[in-house]
Symmetry: C2
Subunit: 180 residues, 2 copies
Amino acid sequence: MSKKAQITVSQIIQAALSVAADKGAGKVTLDAVAKAAGVSKGGLIYHFPSKEALISAMVQHLLDEADCRREQQTQLEQSTLAALLQTRASFTRQIAGNTAMAILAAAAEQPALLKPVQQHNIAMLQQVQAEHQQSPQALLLFLASEALVFHDLLQISPFTEQERIDLEQLLVQQARELQA
Amino acid sequence: MSKKAQITVSQIIQAALSVAADKGAGKVTLDAVAKAAGVSKGGLIYHFPSKEALISAMVQHLLDEADCRREQQTQLEQSTLAALLQTRASFTRQIAGNTAMAILAAAAEQPALLKPVQQHNIAMLQQVQAEHQQSPQALLLFLASEALVFHDLLQISPFTEQERIDLEQLLVQQARELQA
DNA sequence: TTTACTGTACCAACCAGTCGGTTTTTTGTG
DNA sequence: CACAAAAAACCGACTGGTTGGTACAGTAAA
């Protein structure tokens, strides 16, 4: 794959994300994505031989991005859990529009496409559990944070913006205190 | 609406739920639901003038059912929170197949269809908060339980069956101790 | 020469919703 | 209770539009 092709692939994925965010999970069609990416449908199919491949790439892209940000944050925090919660607090809403509908599109299309998400989650959980010796409280914090993400995902958060911010800080705070 | 019509409506909703569970959220089509319900497409449309109406009814049905079960459980527990967690522990997986894909179908189709779910959630949360004087720990338990539900919803639970059961019992236990 | 596309035309499958007509149920009346 | 008229419930072929994917001839760049 040449450099230009890499750029094109990246553009297509970004376009797919923005279509999902703007039009909704159900409107991620090949034509719409191609148009948004400034690419012909033939060009899209050239890189992603099927819609499934495209959505799979979207999901993978999001996971990679999340990983990257968490790694950076890890250097500023004492524990994986604290870094994880802080990362989610900082970026969740910012990328929520993109992520939410993308994940949803994947789930509705074919639940198997979320398997990478599950494995990613398992890895996170194991690391947190290991760092805190299976502490139930650490597990609770981890799960609570996930609930907040899911709320955004489905756009059913019961919190106001401020409540949400306070809550996220509470989670981070408790995570930091856990090992202190 | 006659008695027979009520039965038909109920059959259609049940059929819609089972189609969602069996075939996936993306496969909830009017034809598929009609066939599963043993009803013609015309008959389906007669009762639900649009797909949106059908999915909306599905969601409402699930909320009503959940409400009913929680009310029963409330009489056996000391707090709303404990009842809520225990109800989820007992029934989540049993109805997960149905519920999961139904909610997902609604979300992918049109996020606004989940508004009743959100309001339902807000009401729950307020009651829990009121009963426990805004206790952060109660909130954490509530959120953790929601995370478990969402895991089932998207079929991305990082837990084994046994871990899941233990975890649910842990949540219930902590909820009961909260006000003791 | 291979890779990376463009552009267009096309297709089969699918899908929400319509419509004219039929059956079943309810209701008003003697 | 009997019975017809009216209303409600239901049928299923059909329509118009969309979608994922194909085919392919041609072009531009690496």
